[in-house]
Symmetry: D2
Subunit: 261 residues, 4 copies
């Protein structure tokens, strides 16, 4: 079974900044998608902020098993109704991977329920990413650590909820540490945050980084059918209770009435 991936790219700095354009002449999202298409068992396409509905129409989401998100300078341009649509898809079972500066992307903040803040420094320093969960599927095929010679620093405290699992922790040359790989589940959807990927460095050309993202796609994929209405809160009438009971006392709702929201 081929896993269908959509890589969402903000698609701004590749066109406005000469350094980024030089590092990612095919754009960041296409670079990520190309690597996934070479990984085996994954079929990846791309959409961007500038597409209608930011590329995330109901039809596209319905055909996306795992959505990957990279954004940085234009978080505020993402429309709230699209954020709601993305969260509904995650809750219904779509996997989602947030990369680097997407820690401040609207759907990440919405799914975390937390400030998602951190400290940062753009100095091209060395990052060393350590595996903390031995033989975790997202770390499959990796050595105990790998290095990125030039990266932006993100430092703790990282304002996210306690994860299900901490898979990676980064060491930075300038003295900071950061939880770089974190897993969550929201509704039926698996969510992974992966830290590396500042746009002025060739991080997404790195084979280890590409492997992590491909591993994370396979981990995040929930093969169950998407839940049609993940927000449904159905009434179970008395005559359909699993055990036979009779209504007692006062009621607020009439029989069959919908609940409040």
């Amino acid at each position: 079974m081929t896993i269908r991936v959509t890589v969402w790219g903000e698609n701004v700095h590749e066109h406005e900044n000469a350094v980024v354009a030089g590092v990612y002449p095919d754009t960041m999202h296409v670079t990520i998608a190309d690597a996934l298409n070479r990984a085996g068992g994954i079929s990846a396409g791309t959409v961007t902020l500038q597409d209608p509905d930011h590329g995330l129409t109901p039809e596209r989401l319905a055909e996306t098993d795992v959505l990957i998100w990279w954004g940085h300078t234009a978080h505020g341009d993402v429309r709230d109704e699209i954020v709601d649509r993305v969260c509904d898809a995650v809750w219904g079972g779509m996997g989602m991977i947030f990369l680097h500066s997407a820690h401040f992307a609207k759907p990440f903040k919405r799914l975390m329920g937390a400030p998602c803040n951190l400290t940062w420094r753009e100095a091209g320093e060395r990052e060393r990413i350590w595996v903390t969960s031995r033989n975790h599927p997202i770390a499959a095929g990796l050595p105990d650590f790998f290095e990125l010679e030039h990266e932006e620093m993100y430092g703790e405290p990282f304002g996210v909820p306690e994860p299900l699992e901490t898979v990676f922790i980064s060491w930075f040359q300038g003295g900071e540490v950061f939880r770089s790989g974190l897993t969550y589940r929201r509704g039926a959807g698996n969510v992974f945050y992966f830290r590396p990927g500042h746009e002025t460095y060739p991080t997404y050309h790195n084979a280890h980084v590409q492997r992590v993202i491909a591993n994370a796609v396979r981990w995040a994929h929930n093969p169950a059918a998407r839940i049609a209405n993940p927000n449904d809160a159905p009434n179970v009438p008395v005559d359909r209770a699993p055990e036979k009971i009779e209504t007692r006392g006062a009621t607020l709702h009439k029989a069959g009435e919908a609940g409040y929201r």
Copy 2:
């Protein structure tokens, strides 16, 4: 040190529904606050949806150690900017307790990042609440279980993230179960969800329920000073890195520039 509690009441059904008015002649929020004021070490006041800013002015939140929330029929009337303000206070260290139908309250959904849905039935059936975390501070002084003879049923699956700890699970006469006491941490704030409290039943007059809420207030209280800006993501300039480093490679941000949001 006295813990300062604000009980937020939706304050609708007490005035519109004769049954609720009969059960809670002093309103639900005042009933809850009164019990807390008798518990020792807690000073509780109330605000309502109808107050300016729903009673949740910046000044009020600054003087609130733990906020308790009960709402049901008017979730949609809570203004989004107040929800943001409440979440910021939680992230800065304010404790927060959500009661019963507040599972669909805007701030709960925002803090959970999940659908928070469930199944339900209003039949006045028996609920038996079991302690699942022996000697947890929120269960202090409780027996292994206690019963509410008449309650609304809430059933699994409950669409919330995995909690830090499951403290209570409910058994319902009609055959369902529900995780009734769940702890979370969001930013510096402790969050507790507690299931019982349908407005047509005298649940908040129950001594065990009152004890749980008082215990939860003490558990949720973070005595550290509130974080002034819990969303801050400060730049750490190269010359202030903990280890001496020099900038290498290309940069996107000018020195001292704020990050993107």
Copy 3:
């Protein structure tokens, strides 16, 4: 890739108790293995307490992807060195599923680090098992709940650590609840506890129960190569530190010396 399962059976009551012999004429472990062999993609065999090394030789464990454990009356007869061997295999990546009364099996207690106690009643009462994690792989293909008309009751508080995820919670006719499906990770090994399966009832003939066990096998299987020495704590000599450093200050260990245990 076929997943290799070993079902460990205590193999006592099937021979000593006429009721159990009548319900499980092929023994419980063979019944479980047969169902797994029909599930697809799984090759299951059995071993018993009475086999040399209780059937758990190093060779057998090396060829076992997932070990399933059912025991009840003879927990104390399991030799400690075999328990150590099993735990090492789990830490190295072998999946493990504990069924019902195995909550008091030596390897479960060893892997949990907790008392693993509960309340119980053998009254043939009805158990209703609810899915609490929607579309979790271990719940694949199940309805929201399923029933076992006759089961032993296990009640909360269940003395286990907080799980990674709560997948099932049971409702009992006599009024108790129990966390019936819990996931853990220990070292590189995935561990699942599943409650049902008292030996006087035909639980392991139930199609839903068989499905849960097959799902759990697939979930627990870690395809990575087994870690040869999962207890290794290697010294990293100064000249092989990832960053260039020099030894400073006093040392306790000579260069290359093994650490204390």
Copy 4:
């Protein structure tokens, strides 16, 4: 209410190694206890490996709210029956703090159910300890990070279960990272692991380290009465079931009979 602490010291290297004797002329355990006695609200004493029952008689454990454990070279000399006694006390509600090389202490391994291994290097390198859970009670009064100029390195992967919360992560000069502060709950007992404290360095004279340990004592303290038999698995006879039921089907146990272990 004063919290009663017992600091358990292995008490070997202080007498056999001149460097350690010079750094800790009063021994490590007495140094730690002295600091706690100055912290306020804590009354700390010490026991050692060489005492009868390693100092951990039933009477001593009954009067200990929080036990602190430092050991390194003589883990194997701790008798298994004392380990069982300590675990029972934790499960009953005693708090427990494991320091540094106690990651391989028998009671830590027993409580974790995991290999608890790591990588290490004794080079006197710089360690920088970052707070990862903002305003967590164990981090009260600390800056965002603090430094220990000379420490032994411990590196990931650290073979422990996912914690309830990650409170600290360490950066090491030689390039490694380590989860340095982890919280767990086992039975009714709170457990904290704190990494620093190699015996050839003056770590336990450091004010920040002393503060962490005092904070952890207050966090770990469970004021509830100790559970007398934390391993009890009581039968609930049919006539005492919360809901009225009648026995159906075959039974293995006679009425009132104890369960198997």
